[in-house]
Subunit: 79 residues, 2 copies
């Protein structure tokens, strides 16, 4: 049963307030060598093996896991 | 400047209520071939190249990005 690892992030042009807050917190902790923090969601799911895994993952992401208007997603299939 | 991709998930023994809800929603949408959904956070950051990137990423995760008591994290360094 393949494992699908999906990461969903805000599109790069949008302000990521959560990422900015974490960036500020890291600077306060003394990590001045950190740049550009972006925060998103990570989803792991197992899908029964079938003929069109990629198509199905894309469908699931577009319908439920990501908002394609403001978010990008990437996924990786681990057999 | 290396890009660090970090994923944080609840430890496998803990109930992931959000993952369970998404699993139920997928079943309602007709995706009966999905198993074991786990949801976590995804963090991307750029770190200035230095002598001990791994050590620093682990420190940042333990201190700020993950709660090591209930969460596991994995990371990947993309040079």
């Amino acid at each position: 049963m393949p494992l699908i690892k999906i990461s969903v992030t805000l599109k790069p042009t949008l302000l990521d307030a959560q990422g900015r807050a974490v960036h500020g917190a890291l600077k306060n902790l003394g990590y001045n060598n950190v740049e550009k923090v972006r925060i998103g969601r990570y989803i792991e799911l197992n899908l029964e093996d079938g003929p069109d895994i990629d198509g199905q993952v894309r469908e699931i992401c577009d319908k439920l896991l990501a908002n394609p208007v403001i978010e990008d997603y990437r996924y990786e299939v681990v057999k």
